[in-house]
Amino acid sequence: MTELTNLTLAEARDGLAKGEYTSVELTEAFLGAMEARKDLNAFIVTCPDVALERAKASDARRAKGEVLGPMDGAPVAIKDLFCTEGVQTTAASKILEGFKPQYESTVSGKLRDGGAVMLGKTNLDEFAMGSANITSAYGNVTSPWVAEDDPEKLVPGGSSGGSAAAVSARMCLAATGTDTGGSIRQPAAFTGIVGLKPTYGRCSRWGIVAFASSLDQAGPMTHTVRDAAIMLGQMAGFDPKDSTSAKVDLPDFEKALTGDIRGLKVGIPKEYRPDGLDSEIAALWDQGIAWLKDAGAEIVDISLPHTDKALATYYIVAPAEASSNLARYDGVRYGLRVEEGGNLDEMYMKTRAKGFGKEVKRRILIGTYVLSAGYYDAYYLKAQKVRALIANDFAEAFKTVDVILTPTAPSDAFPIAGGNKVDPITMYLNDVFTVPASLAGVPAMSLPGGLSQKGLPLGLQLIGRPFDEETILRAAGVMEAAAEFTAVPTLLRGGK
């Protein structure tokens, strides 16, 4: 029998149904893997008691012939940005240390109600602000991948770096992530897994610690495209508690995986091939184009003319929203309080100075500045207008194509040590290919395309029409079959 931790979510679903193993057996196998790979620091808290209790309940249900859904009994990890009832939720910040939500986020609640087993809460960049998982107050996450020519510890990407490392290193069947500017897709690319950012409004944001509310979106991080389809079905759906949640039909996403993309029109945006694009990334992209073409898709050259202004737009809009959202951390209702005998304002200022990390403070200050009197029009209003143009670029493109193919990230994973030294803007450039889809609110997915010369995973990104995750999944399924990506993280090969 295959090692239980090597199963895909779909395989585990089928194996559980056939009685080949129990949810308790699966859960124990993953808890063992989590313990063995503790040094990656992928989890902020683990909850073996909760996990085993849910696994037992799942097995008991199944014994009676009751199954709550395709993920009943499936051990998963939850990014520590989702509020989980009674289980510490920190957003990787000191300011929320010890915070135990009294309620469950809608998305993690749907997974729980569908019988999924929560193994623990995964590490992330503080308040999901980062692209390397090096801003967490609970330490860096290490990727299970190591370059062939260099033993340096690598970043798993960010902000969902703990979820990416946990899936990649086989510490869970799948994990939840959240994506504001690339936080599901870029870490998925860096760790050789599949990550799907659904359409804005597809998954409820209720109970997810807010970063930038007009951009935040939850999604699945999995081993395969099929697994992403299964998990998205369990996470998505209308929620009256989130006013931006969409009242749209929930399709059976797995049925989209027909393997047939004949006649599909695939757009290739020329702006994603700037001068100086890494030759390996360009070659991978060409390979992806060839796979789709071989399967009968029609390749169409398109233009998304405002692409090069997306990052700057994002770095006004996201910090502005963050500065407003993070105003709630005031030391009064939950989390850290620093009181040194001063007045209320001093209590706020000391609490927030101590509780927030460097990158979070930087973004709060930028956001506060661009929203402040005298600068609002020049920065924030201008960014909102450029955002409209970027969204329109996609709307125009989708008049002629069904899906868009691009690289996910401009490079493979970089060393943690190097990540600490780069200036903020260089770090922000990691998201150059993922941010535009976020600003436009359209769904996008990263899937592994191959390995770099250093032996590290590289991802390809498919972007779709609003609420058309199905076409993305269908195209991704074909590419996944063509890519035959079977590379295993260095760590699991017993390497370095």
């Binding site: 009242k247 402040s372 609003p466």
Partner: protein, 95 residues
């Protein structure tokens, strides 16, 4: 435009973030770097473009104006750093 130390101190107060005097200079430099970079948006012609706060194409839905939640003071106070008799406790605000 360029941020000076006084402006950083002022934004710090608006954001209720205490910034040690010795950090002001460095922060001003970093923030200026980021602001200088985002100023590239000035090159984009946005004449006649309406700003968007959200790209969601959904209309905000209506619901009945009824109470659907609440009446759980213990839960609301469960994570409070300081609470007394069903209230959050804060430093004195009225002299």
């Amino acid at each position: 435009m360029s941020l000076d130390k006084a402006t950083v101190r002022k934004i710090g107060f608006l954001a209720r973030l205490e910034i040690p005097e010795e950090d002001l200079e460095g922060l001003a430099h970093e923030l200026n770097g980021i602001l200088g970079w985002v100023e590239q948006l000035a090159q984009v012609d946005t004449e006649g473009v309406a700003p968007v706060a959200s790209v969601s194409q959904m209309k905000l839905f209506w619901r009945d104006d009824v109470v659907t939640d609440g009446n759980m003071p213990e839960k609301a106070l469960a994570n409070a750093p300081e609470a007394v008799d069903g209230y959050f406790l804060v430093p004195k605000v009225v002299e």
